[in-house]
């Protein structure tokens, strides 16, 4: 038998491009707060971040810090009530930047004469600097107002910040 050398000269093509990834959802945090009967910054009872590996939010006892700038949507709900007097009470969603400048993005008031209100509010804030978010419960005069069942959802919108 004759002997021959043969060379197979070809390149194995790489696989096809993978499929398009899943829809990108904006990172969200869901926070519940302890009830309060005294004027104070509300303290956090529990917080859940979606997706769990997101590092956009960090949490302390009474605040949420953003580690990125951008557009954030806030959804707050709860119950304000007063039983014996009618002096009024207020809940403020306050943001504070790294220079210490504060802004009350949402304010909910229990008017004088009102006994209770179940409230909910939505608002979008735009932030070119990092922010700390807290809920401030304030009472007027001798009010016996209390606040209950407060929850806050924050969602970072998937758009880069621009002035």
């Amino acid at each position: 038998m004759e002997e021959h050398d043969y060379c197979l000269d070809f390149i194995i093509p790489s696989g096809e491009t993978g499929p398009t990834g899943p829809i990108v959802h904006a990172p969200k945090i869901f926070v519940s707060y302890h009830n309060a009967t005294t004027a104070q910054n509300l303290t956090i009872s529990s917080a859940t971040i979606f997706p769990s590996n997101s590092n956009i939010y960090t949490i302390t006892n009474e605040s949420i810090q953003f580690t990125e700038t951008g557009y954030f949507e806030f959804f707050i709900s709860g119950r304000l009530k007063e039983t014996t007097t009618a002096n009024g009470a207020t809940l403020k969603l306050r943001t504070r930047n790294t220079s210490g400048i504060s802004n009350n993005l949402i304010t909910v008031q229990l008017q004088q004469g009102a006994r209770e209100t179940y409230f909910s509010q939505i608002k979008i804030g735009q932030y070119g600097t990092l922010q700390t978010v807290m809920l401030v419960f304030e009472k007027n005069g001798n009010s016996d107002a209390s606040i209950e069942a407060v929850t806050l959802q924050i969602q970072r919108l998937p758009f880069p910040y621009s002035k």
Partner: protein, 161 residues
């Protein structure tokens, strides 16, 4: 002279290298517009205050003269939030989101204050459209009512489906 011989190549093709990563999936929100409205105690179309679109150059929303045009077919989420109150009478003040189709307006969503007092409200509703639509927010009340609206915020999200 070439001999006529048959050869069998007996091997298995190796698996090719993994292809490049697929493109990033679409964002959960294609575009959003949001606006505050000026506080009012007067019936009529609410006046937008500092409306904003994201991304800035999107043509999905056109905002003109307190009317928002949804310029693409698809699925939208409308959300409105604020405070509605009345102290003197009980006349069923209504805040409504109106949709205009072919020049005919109809209420898409209503918030009614049925008794004297106040409500902090949030309402959300999905809207699917196949042709451009106009959206406006209107406040209705009787002349004897002292109802007022405060801190009204409105946003519309366009989803990628």
């Amino acid at each position: 002279m070439q001999s006529n011989s048959e050869y069998i190549l007996d091997f298995v093709l190796p698996i090719g290298e993994t292809g490049p990563t697929g493109p990033t999936g679409p964002a959960g929100i294609s575009a959003i517009m949001y606006t505050d409205f000026a506080n009012t105690s007067t019936a009529g179309i609410l006046q937008t205050s500092s409306p904003k679109k994201l991304p800035n150059n999107t043509n999905i929303f056109l905002i003109n003269n307190n009317r928002i045009t949804l310029n693409e077919s698809g699925c939208y989420e409308l959300a409105i939030s604020g405070r509605l109150r009345e102290t003197l009478s009980s006349t069923n003040a209504v805040l409504a989101i109106q949709i205009e189709v072919n020049g005919t307006q109809s209420d898409f969503l209503e918030i009614t204050l049925q008794n004297v007092g106040e409500i902090y409200f949030v309402q959300q509703k999905m809207l699917s459209i196949t042709t451009p639509q106009n959206v406006s927010v209107i406040f209705r009340k009787t002349s004897s009512s002292d109802a007022s609206l405060e801190n009204v915020f409105f946003d519309i999200k366009k989803f990628p489906y």
